[in-house]
């Protein structure tokens, strides 16, 4: 299905494509809102659907009163960013309670594996 392009004007081609991209992604926005609206599991405590910026996991991801890190001159900002990101990451990691056990799962095969361990004596 090789089409001959309708136009050879680069600007028009750009505009057409860009328009389609925006139409599709804007449609996705509404789809996501629809999913959220239809979600039977969402917390009823939430005041309004439209208030979607409301924090719920706030304290965890941004410890607000944390003192701003002292940045010494001469150190590359990338380094500082990565270090603070790492610390944050590990700090959070420490709070993780339940770690997913990858490579196994709670259905037949896992049970089978467990059973076999047990079986072999």
């Amino acid at each position: 299905m090789e089409h001959s392009p309708v136009t050879t004007n680069p600007l028009i081609i750009m505009m057409i494509n860009m328009t389609v991209v925006f139409i599709v992604l804007i449609s996705l926005i509404y789809l996501i809102k629809l999913i959220h609206f239809l979600d039977p599991t969402k917390k009823p405590a939430k005041p309004q659907v439209t208030d979607e910026e409301e924090p719920l996991v706030a304290v965890k991801s941004e410890p607000a009163p944390a003192p701003p890190p002292v940045i010494e001159e001469g150190i590359k900002p990338e380094v500082i960013a990565s270090i603070s990101a790492a610390i944050t990451a590990y700090g959070f990691a420490g709070q993780v309670k339940a770690v997913r056990i990858v490579n196994h799962e709670g259905t037949a095969w896992r049970a089978s594996a467990k059973f076999n361990t047990l079986q072999r004596k």
């Binding site: 991209v21 939430k46 990565s82």
Partner: protein, 377 residues
Amino acid sequence: MEALNAFSVSLQAVWNDSGFSAFTMGNGIMILVGLLLLYMAFVKEFEPLLLGPIAFGCILANFPNTGFFGEEMNVMKAINYGITYEIFPPLIFLGIGAMTDFSPLLARPSTLLLGAAAQVGVFVALGGAMLVGFDVHEAAAIGIIGGADGPTSIYLSTKLAPHLLGAIAVAAYSYMSLVPLIQPPIMKLMTSQAEREIVMTELREVTKFERVVFPIVSTIFISLLLPPIAALLGCLMLGNLFRESGVTDRLSDTAQNALINIVTIFLGTGTGMTMSAESFLRTDTLLIIGLGLVAFMGGTAGGLLFGKIMCKMTGGAINPLIGSAGVSAVPMAARVSQLVGMKSKPGNYLLMHAMGPNVAGVIGTAVAAGTMLAMLK
């Protein structure tokens, strides 16, 4: 006497069939290109997982008389088959899907606009490529570099301009690694100090229902609208479902480890194998590299511009710095947003907020590729 004669004839024969005798200037330069790419991959750490195998594949492809491209099947030809028929990119996307968390996007869907706006780089480069003389198919393949999505770039190039695959892949992966250098100046130029200091409110919690339904619904909607990217998007979302379903961790784990690693080795090596002197040593390659930079800068600017608009429209609830994360290059672009934000106002953590546009950019680029395929193929 017979021995001596046989000796010299044999050595001569080995030499004649060796790669040295058929070695061309082009081979030599391409091997140097491969070495340069290896340096970039392993020393400069430019996306070493992909650029490493690409570089090595480029070197391998430029040894004469190996028979890699002969009639008979061999391991390199088999790998090349997976490139030519676009078998590898969807499998990479399966793993990426299993690694991707769409929660920040689902918590604040408006960031999809930033993911869309960042595709402006794609189309700026498309236009630019047409202006400098590429035909529309080539221009589309070049433009997608601005999407900062390696597998999508390889997928689209294979379909629209296979002869440019090597240059496009190299440009895409190189610029993806250069995001921390390319973006900050543009970000500082386009935003005010006040804008950069905006602290965003927390993201709401996203339910499992949303995380499971989103990949399904978006696959159906986008694949119906743009069938040419159904394989790519379908695999991305299938991988994400493995991750989110809660009952297929086994498949998720394999998709994001053994399978993606195996396919990455093959995808990289196979892409590098397409880098012959004839297709790579042309001014086109330099143009592609230049246009790729334009695309990245355009995408960054597009995202920032839309970030500023959203900032205005929300009365300052959105920090425009997260706009540049819309080029995808997950999660590097989001970390750049975080970095620039923290430099303007220590303690201003934008990482979470920038992950929304960041994953939106992956979808945006796939959609852009689908749009171009729908219009051009």
